[in-house]
Symmetry: C2
Subunit: 373 residues, 2 copies
């Protein structure tokens, strides 16, 4: 007999206003295993849950049970865990399953896992029969505050991260905070990186709150987590709502990501977690902002201390200046070979700027020194 599902609690709803592609994010505890959570989704004969071999043993059975009342049949695909598998052959396993099961163009896909599962499931949903609906069920802090909002989906290419993808909005996002209990400390810290990010780019009061609540967040207090996830999603939603296709403003969400992507690619995908690379990348981007005369050293120090206290690396790996520059030139923000970075224009406000190569080299040289602080 299945155990009684926990009652949903702490429920927040963050609406994402994108016209006919609008959806909402549910944040709370006890959501995933409750049939009520899944009411009102597009009707279909079949659902397909995509997960990975770490998350599936923990939550797939509960999700399947909760979905069963809503769909005639609930299929599943369990992918190998990790950024290293965010590639075409692994993506193709989702298409193989959909076609082998005879899934039609109304089939609803569910992404149960972290950012990699979300990005791949979303991209599969964008492409399968040229587009089917999908639901994000992010089980990592990073995915809850970042990759599940905004509709960006992608896979990696050997020559660059997230180079092949689509904009495809989910029809709903369900952030069950209970799933964070099983998250390894390293991955939890990686999620904090993206939460911290929203401070310097959009909301310094939120940065104050994170500094004050860091101990509660680190012991995974549900109320603190609910607030952190909600505020992060609100800020991201506000940005994405103004610029769904990343024509301008949306790029500020990539604060720390240009350096971060270079670190990930340079070390080989999977060596550092995405959030770890972004944490270190934010230190570098803050330092670049300082050298451009935009912010003072106190803000760089404050951010660096918070990032370190969150359990994230703040010393950049020594890939060599030249390699950093090469890797950053394939960044999607680059134009005609010019390096462009998200910088802090002033505390709580970000923008995209081209930066002189010499300055970028100085930042790399400084941040690669273990004792740079």
């Amino acid at each position: 007999m299945p155990s009684v599902p926990p009652q949903p609690a702490l429920l927040h709803e963050v609406p994402i206003d994108l016209g006919e592609r609008s959806y909402s994010i549910a944040i709370g505890t006890g959501l995933l295993g409750h049939a009520d959570t899944w009411r009102g989704l597009p009707r279909a004969a079949a659902a397909l849950v995509v997960s990975n071999d770490t998350v599936a043993p923990l939550y797939l059975a509960a999700l399947r049970r909760a979905l069963q009342p809503h769909y005639g049949v609930v299929h599943e695909v369990v992918l190998p865990d990790g950024e290293a598998h965010k590639d075409w052959p692994t993506l193709n396993r989702i298409f193989d399953a959909l076609l082998a099961k005879g899934c039609d163009r109304k089939t609803v896909l569910f992404a149960l896992g972290g950012g990699v599962v979300g990005d791949m499931t979303g991209f599969a949903a964008a492409c399968y029969m040229r587009g089917v609906p999908f639901v994000q069920v992010p089980t990592t802090l990073l995915a809850q505050v970042d990759s599940s909002v905004g509709g960006k989906t992608a896979i990696n290419h050997p020559l660059g991260k997230n180079m092949v993808g689509a904009f495809h909005q989910p029809v709903r996002v369900v952030c069950d905070l209970d799933t964070l209990a099983t998250l390894p400390a390293r991955e939890f810290s990686a999620g904090l990186a993206e939460i911290i990010k929203y401070g310097p780019i959009a909301d310094m009061a939120f940065l104050d709150w994170i500094e004050a609540q860091l101990p509660a967040l680190l012991r995974r207090d549900p109320a603190a987590l609910a607030r952190a996830v909600q505020r992060s999603c609100e800020i991201k939603a506000w940005v994405v709502g103004q610029d769904e296709r990343e024509a301008g403003l949306r790029a500020i969400l990539n604060f720390g990501h240009t350096f971060g992507h270079a670190i990930e690619a340079g070390l080989g995908y999977g060596e550092w977690l995405h959030g770890e690379a972004v944490g270190c990348g934010m230190v570098m981007a803050a330092e670049l902002s300082r050298r451009l005369g935009l912010v003072d050293a106190a803000l760089v120090d404050r951010l660096t201390r918070l990032i370190a206290a969150a359990g994230l690396p703040v010393d950049a790996p020594d890939l060599g200046e030249q390699r950093y520059l090469e890797l950053m030139r394939v960044d999607k923000k680059a134009e005609a070979g010019d390096l462009r970075f998200v910088v802090i224009e002033s505390p709580g406000r970000a923008g995209v700027r081209a930066a002189p190569e010499a300055l970028v080299r100085e930042v790399i040289a400084q941040c690669c020194k273990p004792a740079h602080r």
Copy 2:
């Protein structure tokens, strides 16, 4: 010294009204090699022309020369020709080239070739950095009247044709009728199939015109071709303009395609040309319409005779009834395993209907007999 490019002539413009994704189709002679044809496209540092090893030797140099005044650099990728290569590994060669050349998100892709090149280039453009602009330069009759209009892009999966793709509108389509001069007779006939299609589903006066002008079309008279391409694009544009994402009406453009796709998949992609399969599939769909009591035998005979006169097969390959049914159940129109077909509701008007399996079996049995007429 390059030869003087031919002056554009017979120029028709068909506007495709899709709001902010609107574009126009230019139809005429002497277009491809003329720099003026390529004015007013999105500005970018680089262009990438995708072609195949049949078309590239004929037209790539001329297109490159004509694009040169508009872009700093014009890259090229030449793919192997044929439907058998409309797959992920071949698609990935476009991404490899884009990334190896450091192409940014403003790069404009040009699809120079038939439907396969168009579908793959369009899908690559839809996915590269989550979307870059592309231009269709269809060089086959089929691509000019069908695959270059409507924004459908895709690759095949071993379990089904066009199963992985995207809706991505081109920023312009240029149909240079001169390129049809080098088209093999078999491919030319395949293109006529999609032109004939527009008669029974939308415009019986156009069907009369095609019957009368078939000799002129078969000798590739430019004025007749211009009219046939223009009217086909107009009808398709009218349908697509009302239903860009194929929620309903647009499905009528798939008249003959459910049977046709089964033939293509059953024989192995590339054995019959797409247009050949559609030609035969239209005979089957017309016969199904008759057995549903929608049209009379005279219309089926008339269509069958015209399709045969256009040089297309009208006898279905004997795959076995069961195999036909299996293959058609993975059609994108199928819902929960039910077979659905585009049928002629009355001459010049089409719709989508579920059909009883027994009736479909009768159609297959009849059309697979070599002497069924």
